[in-house]
């Protein structure tokens, strides 16, 4: 199973959210305009996006037989080999999982971005990350559950 996430989609989310964060704080201090990211900041943001993907892959390693991602042209392709049979609604769950991973990458990158530029406002954004992680683990659990064998002493 492959989840394909265009970098553009993640960056669009980051820029849009950073725009609103900046606008809301600029009313009291114009210096907050610095958090309003743009395509000038793509190098910095791409590094954060990849750190977020590393975290996701690390988190899901034990929940799938195989999981990895590669950068191809303008998108990240995440390959997942689930444990066991893929359920009938697998495609739909995969779409939801892709959205949740995209959201995690965007939110994580915004958090890192704010930690560097304006750490005083980073925590509310960072506090949203565990919710997205919960969503990701929920969706991966729907398509890939490790096989649990009943404990039998002496193999009986």
């Amino acid at each position: 199973m492959i989840i394909s996430i265009p970098l553009q989609t993640i960056l669009d989310r980051i820029h849009t959210r950073n725009y609103y964060v900046g606008e809301s704080y600029k009313a009291k201090d114009l210096d907050y305009s610095i958090v309003q990211s743009s395509y000038d900041n793509i190098d910095e943001l791409k590094t954060s996006v990849e750190s977020a993907l590393d975290e996701v892959v690390g988190m899901l390693l034990k929940r799938a037989k195989e999981i990895s991602y590669v950068w191809g042209n303008d998108r990240y392709d995440i390959t997942i080999v689930p444990y066991g049979r893929i359920p009938d609604n697998g495609e739909e769950v995969l779409r939801l999982l892709g959205n949740a991973i995209t959201d995690y990458c965007a939110q994580y990158s915004i958090y890192q971005w704010l930690l560097v530029l304006k750490p005083d406002i980073a925590n509310p954004i960072g506090s949203l990350l565990p919710n997205i992680i919960n969503k990701i683990t929920k969706y991966i659990g729907m398509i890939s559950n490790p096989v649990i064998r009943r404990y039998t002493p002496f193999g009986i």
């Binding site: 553009q8 669009d12 820029h15 849009t16 725009y19 900046g22 606008e23 600029k26 114009l30 210096d31 305009s33 610095i34 309003q36 743009s38 395509y39 000038d40």
Partner: protein, 157 residues
Amino acid sequence: MEGSKVISLVLTTSGLLVQMKEHSYYIGESLKSNPQIMELAAKIQASDDDNPVLQDFAQQGGTKLGNILSRVVGKTSYAWDEGKTNLTFTVKAVVNFMDSQKDMLKDSMLGYLSCYVLSKWLNLIKPDESVRFEALLTQYEEDMRQLGAQRDKPIRL
């Protein structure tokens, strides 16, 4: 702050000096009602004969203005043309800098520079009159900061 959008802002020396001289004319006229300083008041009213010293002040002001723009908009360099008729500021703004603010920024820059030249001019002739114009410089700087902080709303491509 430095970015990939290059903005060119041109101020003309004639426009700058006309504005400055106009202000100096009215300041002089208002002071002429006091007969004791009538002669001094006339000196305040800058004329074309004073252009060399006014241009020196404009040059100093240009450096200050360039530093302010570097701080509030993006890395700025500036250059005078050969006849010193135009002063061109080249600003590397962030790509989402709001273009619609460009003309207002230019007006604020002209206001700042004309105010700077006027305050330096008054400082030569009647220093007590220059203080309020020095204070105005801070206001212009704040205006530029406000304009430099405006960003375009991101558009999903």
